[in-house]
């Protein structure tokens, strides 16, 4: 036994709207048609159609149409709700009946996403991109990050979850060591917008793990020089890197900076240190192509130079 026989005597009433989605502030039209001979208990000549916009009465114009149907047309010159229900009512057996409804949504075409940037995570080689969404369109908008190999037609990418403005392209969908085109696309009922297209090799935006400071010694002995042994992170061992070292005395605000340190590991010597003073050392690296991000500064190491 099916509880519903939707065929039923349907057609007693129906509401039609111009478009279910309109630009905010534009006009909305709708019509409510009553075929009284299909509405049991509704006396033909006495059909009075009224409208409500959500819970607010609005006036339509009713007229008799061929075949004994009654039609009420409604025009709302300036629809300022982002979402509302247009209800059609008739009076029946002394009660007011809801007989039809149209859901209207209003908003704007999607804003152009901007500030797109990406980072490659070297632990799982996922490419995480983030962007700014732009003004709210008030409409259901599907956002997708798109990426295409420079030569292939295939477009892959990822979809942000839970309304976030970031998502991660898994390794399987990436071409490493080659240019890829990456952009954000936003689409709703009123249009589509695309961000600027980035053209990057995922490796060039790799987020490197920081190097490790192995040991610090006063070498050569009894001088104001210090030798610092360091090593790049294992995840970067195959890369050509350029690193830089910074140090400062405990109370000093400014850092001294040693740049252009290359290789996978080594010892860097610096001189001019004050005697009997505690210094704080940190190091970071970047791909030697000077593209892409610096790693975080390594965990700091303290070292106190010997007395004079």
């Amino acid at each position: 036994l099916l509880l519903l026989c939707p065929g039923g005597t349907l057609g007693c009433a129906s509401v039609a709207a111009g478009s279910p989605v309109v630009p905010l502030g534009s006009a909305v039209t709708a019509s409510c048609t009553i075929q009284s001979e299909l509405c049991r208990g509704l006396e033909p000549g006495k059909v009075r159609i009224t409208w409500m916009l959500d819970n607010e009465p609005v006036a339509g114009t009713q007229h008799r149409a061929p075949g004994g149907t009654e039609v009420s047309n409604l025009t709302l010159p300036q629809f300022n709700h982002t979402e509302a229900k247009l209800w059609c009512w008739v009076e029946w057996n002394g009660t007011k009946q809801r007989v039809g409804m149209a859901e209207i949504r209003a908003g704007y075409p999607p804003a152009k996403p901007f500030n797109l940037s990406c980072v490659l995570n070297l632990s799982d080689y996922g490419l995480t991109c983030q962007w700014e969404q732009g003004a709210n369109s008030h409409l259901p908008t599907s956002i997708a990050l798109k990426c295409a190999g420079s030569r292939t037609q295939a477009v892959t990418g990822c979809t942000p979850q839970g309304g976030h403005s970031h998502c991660t392209v898994p390794r399987q969908l990436l071409q490493l060591y080659r240019q890829m085109e990456i952009w954000v696309s936003a689409t709703n009922a009123l249009g589509t917008a695309e961000s600027e297209h980035l053209c990057i090799d995922p490796m060039d935006v790799a987020k490197l793990d920081p190097p490790a400071l192995q040991s610090i010694q006063s070498i050569p002995f009894q001088t104001d020089c210090v030798a610092l042994a360091w090593e790049v992170a294992r995840t970067n061992a195959h890369m050509d890197l350029q690193c830089e070292l910074r140090y400062r005395a405990a109370e000093e605000p400014a850092w001294a900076l040693v740049t252009g340190i290359v290789g996978q590991s080594g010892t860097t010597q610096c001189c001019g240190f004050l005697f009997g003073t505690q210094y704080h050392f940190q190091m970071r690296c970047r791909r030697s192509t000077a593209r892409g991000y610096w790693s975080e500064w390594s965990p700091g190491r303290n070292y106190t130079t010997h007395e004079k």
């Binding site: 099916l2 959500d54 029946w92 009660t95 009946q97 809801r98």
Partner: protein
Amino acid sequence: APLAELSGDQDFQLFLHKNLEFTRKIKGDVAALQRLVCDTFQLCKEEELLLVRQDLGIAQAPLEQCHSRTFQAEACFSQIRAGLRTYHGSLASVLELLPGHAGLVETLQLDAANLSSNIQQQMEDLGLDTVTFPSEDRGPLPAFSSRFHHQVGGFFILANFQRFLETAYRALRHLAR
């Protein structure tokens, strides 16, 4: 043994006591879904939808065997089971309406099926004849001519199911000590 005698049977009383609570739980969940339909679709008052209900030709699952005048426990239990099965199927239309609350609707379907099998087992324990319904397949869902009619259809499925449960609850309570 005639059911009157069994009313003193401890197992039967435990069955009644448990499944009275189960029915209260299901009624509570149906009420929660009715509130959701009201909040989501502004369909809250039955008296505003009587004309459309005629349009949709909505029928109710029969429970006349459970009304006290003609009370016949075995037939009443069978009608309760048949009705639970029908509403289990119809809830699929509500599931389509409230995709964001699928968990609550699916729990309701699980509970309806569970209550029906609890009753079936108890009827078997009492040596009463029981019908074994074919498993899942229930045929296609009704196709509504508009979202509005689909929403009103969902509204009445829940309203009728609530009334059905109220009658079933009174029948079980009639038997309970």
